[in-house]
Point group: C2
Chain length 358, copies 2
């Protein structure tokens, strides 16, 4: 009886097998079988007692991962970007002054969002690969007297981990909320929300936590609200990823990411490659930026590695576009075995790719 004008699409009438790939870009990272299996458990109602219990456990897990006792600690249903919007929308009103530290693409994005809601946006900007001293931040706070100060902890576009110590105190001295984006860093490098005086912080599920993209942990020191049909089976996965972090221990996770990143950096330098972030202590252990090797077209290198090794690494983004290669080593992907694989793939790519530029 097909009176329908649009017929069933052929492409859906055959299976679509997803390839296995080593995901060493700046995220999403690989999802361990245990987390994938958790996500495939039976559906529950978003208001059932068990779902509420899972959400409470997720809250505890985020409190642990963030090192906070904030009551308003939850998973936003959406990508990390939704958490950024949630953080900015809930802390700024139109006409209010905000100060945004721009040391890469995420600060730029935050400035865009704040502008769209009608805030008075002030920025301090550093060159790609750089970061701000506390003195620079205090000068800007004093000059702009913002209601909120936004800082990216792990800037995935440049590979910088920004120092956090002392900034919370400065913000509070100037009566300002301290808002931190730790999407690309949390769990992989130390940050302690309460101790470091951070008022609002968020991360993504698909980076160090190794859960599928689709939920974003966030915590507020004192405000906020939310309600809708939560992505129940995503919560299963997020709970499992937080359980792995709780079992591993946050400090062990930080330590492993640091050791593996240093092992990687040493290997890169031995190959004659240069790291984009000069200052060793400012190198983000979760995302390494490598100066794009001169004489090569970077796309050929990433393409060759994807095609030959089924490994994803990526080029630059925003201010680092065209300047770097980026390699993510996050959560379960942060192992020396993966470093060896990607070093081998890089060496091979440098041999086989054209030296198309000088």
């Amino acid at each position: 009886m097909s009176s329908l004008s649009v017929l069933p699409p052929e492409c859906l009438l055959q299976p679509f097998p997803v390839p296995q790939r080593l995901m060493l870009g700046p995220g999403p990272s690989n999802v361990p079988a245990r987390i994938a299996a958790a996500g495939a458990q039976p559906m529950l109602g978003h208001l059932h007692a068990e779902t509420i219990e899972i959400m409470n456990q997720i809250k505890s897990g985020i409190q642990y991962a963030f090192q906070t006792r904030n009551r308003v600690t939850l998973a936003v249903s959406g990508p990390g970007h939704a958490a950024m919007e949630c953080a900015i929308f809930n802390s700024l009103e139109p006409g209010e002054s905000v100060l945004i530290a721009v040391n890469g693409i995420w600060g730029e994005r935050a400035a865009d969002i704040a502008e769209r809601i009608g805030a008075k946006v002030n920025t301090v900007v550093t060159s790609p690969g750089g970061y701000f001293t506390n003195e620079e931040i205090e000068q800007a706070l004093d000059k702009y007297r913002p209601v909120v100060f936004f800082l990216t902890h792990g800037e995935s576009s440049t590979g910088v981990v920004h120092p956090i110590d002392g900034i919370g105190d400065l913000c509070h001295k100037y009566n300002c909320l301290f808002l931190v984006d730790s999407v690309a860093a949390l769990g992989g490098t130390p940050i302690c929300m309460d101790e470091q005086g951070i008022d609002i912080m968020y991360t993504g599920s698909q980076k160090v936590l190794n859960a599928p993209p689709g939920t974003a942990p966030i915590s507020f020191s004192e405000r906020a609200c939310y309600h809708h049909t939560g992505p129940v089976s995503f919560f299963y996965g997020l709970r499992e990823s937080l359980a792995i972090l709780a079992e591993t221990g946050l400090e062990n996770s930080w330590k492993r990411h640091k050791e593996v990143a240093e092992y990687f950096h040493k290997g890169l330098e031995e190959m004659g490659l240069k790291l984009f972030v000069q200052d060793k202590k400012a190198r983000l252990p979760t995302v390494t930026t490598i100066v794009a090797p001169s004489g090569y077209e970077w796309r050929e290198i990433t393409g060759y590695i994807m095609k030959t090794y089924n490994i994803e690494i990526s080029g630059g983004l925003g201010p680092s576009a065209g300047m770097v290669l980026r390699v993510g080593l996050m959560g379960c992907n942060s192992t020396k075995a993966n470093v060896d694989k990607v070093l081998e793939a890089l060496a091979d790519a440098l041999k086989h790719c054209h030296k198309s530029r000088v």
Copy 2:
């Protein structure tokens, strides 16, 4: 070396097994093993070629399910509520006039959202369980001259399926976009976007489509834009649910939902229960509303059925709160075997629950 002040939470250091439950509320519905397994496939990058291909296949699947050839057809990353926001935000500017047909909670919600973005909100309101004639709609279009007319196709709070024929033509006669919420109905009862002159339509993944909540199909006749880290593994599940629909055939799906709902309605009437929606042709086949049996506390009935049978059914919502029981039979849950189970559970509940009110 635990200098951390927040310790790993005990609740995460033990497994959390999710119970198997028959989900016959107004959604989410059960997720078939095939869709759950698709969602547990290996992670891919959100911009990898295969992910783009999956998104293209999803687009084709939504075009089939919606019966549309619209180019701008996609899955929003978020719950059905995000699609509602996306639809309203992309079709209305502050100060513009919108007409919202309120025949239940979803119209009320749309009015709230439109108000918050500063639109001039006009409503036509019908009593719970009722719907609008085309004459009433034309009068309101003529009076308010809106830019957008919002209508809920399957109003899950009252169990009404709203007639659609002719309304698109009326909207276009008054130079107005026709925006339809089919979250609770799509795939379970006929609607053909292009043929019926609908300009914007959306649904949820967790109703008839039986995919996990977290993505929402939407289609626009001519505008919109979007970009962020898509929930890749949710796309796998959504693709699979659209594949099942393509294999089943939309008309077979409509037919099965109708037959199963009528079988259910007959069984309810034989038990002496009353249907909330008087007009047979206005009964939503995906969500049945039953007049709350007099003399009973409805919460006792739903609680007893959950506890004794592990079956979820629910009470009313918004305008139908306290007045009805709601039973969802959506997608894979729309079977006569499930009807028999829920009829048995209802009969048993009426025997065992207190007649606490007269």
